[in-house]
C-alpha cells in the first residue's frame, strides 16, 4: 500500500502531527470510557465503538478545513471528535442529556455540529452518501470551495444508495470525497462473502472517478491521500473514492455476537495499532520527546473525566421539550 510513512512525514508540521496524536488518543480513551459506562448501565441505547480505526477519522479530518463538512455513520464518535466536536457535548449526548450535541434527542448515531463541520450523521447504512452529494451540490451552486466527506463502511458499498450517489456526484463533478472504512466485516459478514469487486476501491471505475486503497491504520497515509482528494475536489474536478483498510477491535456494537472472526486475526490487527504506530514514528524520528506525548495522554484523561462529569450533571429532556423539534413553526 502506497506511501512510505517515514519518508513522507517530514512535509507535515509538528503541530499537525501532535494534533493527530491528541485526536487519536482522545478517540481511544473516549471509546474505552463509553464501553465502561455502557456496561455499567450509565449509557443507554445502542453504541458502536471506533477503537482500532482512529487513524481513518483523524487522517481524513486533519486534511480538511474547519468549514469543510463531514457526514458520519452509526460508528461515528471518532469522526465527531476528529472534526472537533467537544467531548463534553458528545458524552452528554450518549447519556441522553439536554446539553448533548443533539440535545439528547439523537443519541450515539446522529452527531451534528455544523459550526465545526459535522453536518449530519445517519445510522442507516449507506444513508448519508446521497445526502453528502446534496451538500456538495449546494457548495458548488453557492460557488463555495468547501469540500464534503462522506464516511461509511464496507457494507455500505453494497447499497443502492452508494451507487446512485457516486454516479450522480461524478456526472455533476461535485466536491465530495467518499471514504470507505473497510473493516472487513458488515456485522459478521466478511467482505469476501459480500463484495463482488476485487477491491472496494475498484468500484470507482464504474463511476469514472479515482479509487484509492490506503492503509487505514497509517494516519500519515490516510492524511496524504485525503489531501490529494481534497485538492482535486476544490479544483472542481469531482469526487474520489478512498478505501481505508482498518479493523474494529470491538464487536459491531457493545455485545459479543459470536465467533465470526478468528482470534488470531483480531490479535494480529491489534499488533498494528494505529496509535502505537504514530507514537513510535514520532519518537524514532526525534520529532518530539516522550514527555510531550505523555502530557497529551494526561490531558486527554482529564478531558474524558470532565466530559463524564459534565454529562452526569446535565439535565434530561422531557417529552414536552423534545416535541418542539419536529417542525419549524
Amino acid at each position: 500500500m502506497g506511501l512510505n510513512m517515514s519518508s513522507s512525514i517530514s512535509e507535515i508540521s509538528k503541530e499537525v502531527l501532535l494534533d493527530m496524536y491528541y485526536k487519536m488518543i482522545l478517540i481511544r480513551r473516549f471509546e474505552e470510557k463509553v464501553v465502561e459506562l455502557y456496561r455499567a448501565g450509565e449509557i443507554p441505547g445502542i453504541a458502536h465503538g471506533y477503537i482500532g480505526e482512529e487513524a481513518v477519522a483523524v487522517g481524513v479530518c486533519s486534511a480538511l478545513r474547519k468549514d469543510d463538512y463531514i457526514l458520519s455513520t452509526h460508528r461515528g464518535h471518532g469522526h465527531s471528535l476528529a472534526k472537533g466536536i467537544h467531548p463534553r457535548y458528545l458524552m452528554a449526548e450518549l447519556f441522553g442529556r439536554k446539553t448533548g450535541v443533539c440535545k439528547g434527542i439523537g443519541g450515539s448515531m446522529h452527531s451534528t455540529e455544523p459550526e465545526v463541520g459535522v453536518i449530519f450523521s445517519s445510522a442507516i447504512v449507506g444513508g448519508n452518501i446521497p445526502i453528502a452529494v446534496g451538500v456538495a451540490l449546494a457548495m458548488k451552486m453557492q460557488r463555495r470551495d468547501n469540500v464534503v466527506v462522506s464516511f461509511f463502511g464496507d457494507g455500505a458499498t453494497n447499497t443502492g444508495a452508494f451507487h446512485e450517489a457516486l454516479n450522480l456526484a461524478s456526472i455533476w463533478k461535485l466536491p465530495v470525497i467518499f471514504v470507505c472504512e473497510n473493516n472487513f466485516y458488515a456485522i459478521s459478514t466478511h467482505v469476501s462473502r459480500s463484495v463482488a469487486a476485487k477491491e472496494i476501491a475498484d468500484r470507482a471505475v464504474a463511476y469514472n472517478i479515482p479509487g484509492k486503497v490506503v492503509d487505514g491504520n497509517d494516519v500519515i497515509e490516510v492524511y496524504k491521500t485525503t489531501l490529494e482528494a481534497v485538492e482535486r475536489a476544490r479544483r472542481g474536478e469531482g469526487p474520489t473514492l478512498i478505501e481505508a483498510r482498518t479493523y474494529r477491535w470491538l464487536d459491531h456494537g457493545m455485545y459479543y455476537l459470536g465467533p465470526y472472526r478468528p482470534k488470531e486475526e483480531v490479535e494480529a490487527w491489534k499488533q498494528r495499532c494505529p496509535i502505537k504506530r504514530l507514537k513510535d514514528l514520532l519518537l524514532s524520528k526525534g520529532i518530539v520527546a516522550e514527555d510531550v506525548l505523555v502530557n497529551i495522554e494526561r490531558r486527554v484523561e482529564e478531558e474524558i473525566e470532565d466530559a463524564v462529569k459534565f454529562a452526569r450533571e446535565s439535565e434530561e429532556p422531557d417529552l414536552d421539550f423534545v416535541k418542539q423539534f419536529v417542525y419549524v413553526r
Binding site: 434527542i105 439523537g106 444513508g127 446521497p130 446534496g134 451538500v135 453557492q142 446512485e164 456526472i171 417542525y327
Partner: protein, 330 residues
C-alpha cells in the same frame, strides 16, 4: 373587480415554480426528464430555458439520490424542489424519504432544517396498472416530520406550492395526473395559501362530504345534483394532510350532523379512517348517522378500464351514500 383568468392546474404549478425561482435564487429543481422536455406532464415546461441547466437539473433514474441530494442541499442552505415522476416511485427512495427527510431536524435537536419539497403525482384514471396508479397518502400521514399537500384546484395548487417552497419544513407535494388539464380561476396577483387550512369548497347544511384531492370535483358535481332534490351538501377539502385542519372538519360536522368521506386511496387504514376516527373522538354526539367511507377497493389498481373504473369511488356511489345518511333514523 375583474374576474380572475382561468389556467390549468399544470400551468398554475408551473407559475408557482417560476415565481419562486425568480424570487429566490436558492430555489432549484431536479428530477427525471424535467429539464429539456419540461417534464413528462409538462409541469416544468419553459423553466430550463429560463433558468438553465444548473437550476433545472435532469437527473439519472436514481430516486434515492434525487431525494437524498435534495435533503443534503436543503440542510446546506438551498431550497430544492425535487420531482419524483410517479408516486409509485417514491418508495424507490424509501430510506431517504422515511428515515431521513422527516427525522433530520428532530434527531439533531433542531440544529438542522430541511426546507426541501418533493413533488410527485399519482396516476388517477391513467389506466396504467398497479405500478403507475398508486396513491397512499395515509401511509405518509402516519410519519411525523414532513408536511403533505394534496391540492385539488389550480388555485390551491399554485398557492400551496409557493407556500411549501417558502416553508422551512420538508414537504411531500402530491399532485394528481387527472387534474393537470382542468382549468380554474387563478389571480394574476401573487398569493399564498397557509399550510394546514382546509377549504370549504361548497357550503351546505345537511351533510358534510370530506373529499380528498380529485374527489373534490366528484363531490361538487354530486352536490349540485342533490341541490335539485333539496339536499344541501357541504364539501370540505383538507388541502393539506399534515398539518391537518381538524377544526374545519369538526365545525362542519357539528353543523350538518352527517359525514360521508370520498377518497381515491385505499379504504383500509386510509385517510378516511383517520378522518372518521377524529370525528368519532371529537364530534360523536353531533352525528345523526353513521359515517360512510367511499374509497378505492383494497386491491392493487387493475389495468382493465372497466375494472379500474369500478375500483374507484364515483359520483353515483357518493350520491347513494349521501341519500343513505339522509334517510338514516336512529
Amino acid at each position: 373587480m375583474m374576474a380572475a383568468r382561468e389556467i390549468t392546474y399544470a400551468q398554475a404549478l408551473n407559475e408557482a415554480l417560476r415565481e419562486e425561482m425568480r424570487r429566490d435564487e436558492r430555489v432549484f429543481l431536479m428530477g427525471e426528464d424535467i429539464g429539456i422536455i419540461g417534464g413528462v406532464f409538462k409541469v416544468t415546461q419553459g423553466l430550463y430555458e429560463e433558468f438553465g441547466p444548473e437550476r433545472v437539473r435532469d437527473t439519472p433514474i436514481s430516486e434515492t439520490a434525487i431525494v437524498g441530494a435534495a435533503i443534503g442541499a436543503a440542510i446546506a442552505g438551498m431550497r430544492p424542489v425535487a420531482e419524483i415522476m410517479y408516486m409509485d416511485f417514491l418508495m424507490c427512495a424509501g430510506d431517504q424519504l422515511i428515515n431521513h427527510l422527516p427525522k433530520i431536524r428532530f434527531m439533531t435537536g433542531g440544529k438542522l432544517k430541511v426546507p426541501a419539497v418533493i413533488r410527485t403525482q399519482y396516476g388517477l384514471y391513467r389506466y396504467a396498472a398497479a405500478q403507475h396508479s398508486q396513491f397512499y397518502p395515509a401511509f405518509l400521514m402516519n410519519i411525523p416530520g414532513f408536511y403533505i399537500e394534496v391540492p385539488s384546484t389550480p388555485y390551491d395548487a399554485k398557492g400551496l406550492l409557493k407556500s411549501a417552497i417558502r416553508d422551512e419544513n420538508p414537504d411531500i407535494f402530491i399532485e394528481c395526473a387527472a387534474l393537470y388539464r382542468i382549468k380554474g380561476p387563478v389571480p394574476e396577483d401573487e398569493y399564498l395559501i397557509p399550510l394546514g387550512q382546509a377549504d370549504i369548497k361548497r357550503e351546505g347544511n345537511d351533510v358534510t362530504v370530506f373529499a380528498l384531492s380529485y374527489m373534490v370535483h366528484v363531490a361538487l358535481s354530486a352536490a349540485k345534483k342533490l341541490e335539485a332534490e333539496g339536499i344541501s351538501v357541504e364539501v370540505v377539502d383538507p388541502r393539506t394532510l399534515n398539518p391537518f385542519d381538524k377544526r374545519t372538519l369538526i365545525e362542519s360536522v357539528k353543523k350538518t350532523g352527517r359525514l360521508v368521506i370520498i377518497e381515491p386511496d385505499h379504504k383500509t387504514a386510509g385517510v378516511g379512517a383517520e378522518v372518521a376516527a377524529i370525528v368519532a373522538e371529537e364530534a360523536y354526539e353531533y352525528l345523526n348517522a353513521p359515517v360512510i367511507r367511499l374509497a378505492a377497493e383494497d386491491i392493487p389498481p387493475p389495468f382493465s378500464p372497466k375494472a379500474y373504473n369500478a375500483f374507484l369511488p364515483n359520483e353515483e356511489k357518493l350520491i347513494n351514500a349521501i341519500k343513505k345518511v339522509m334517510k338514516y333514523k336512529r
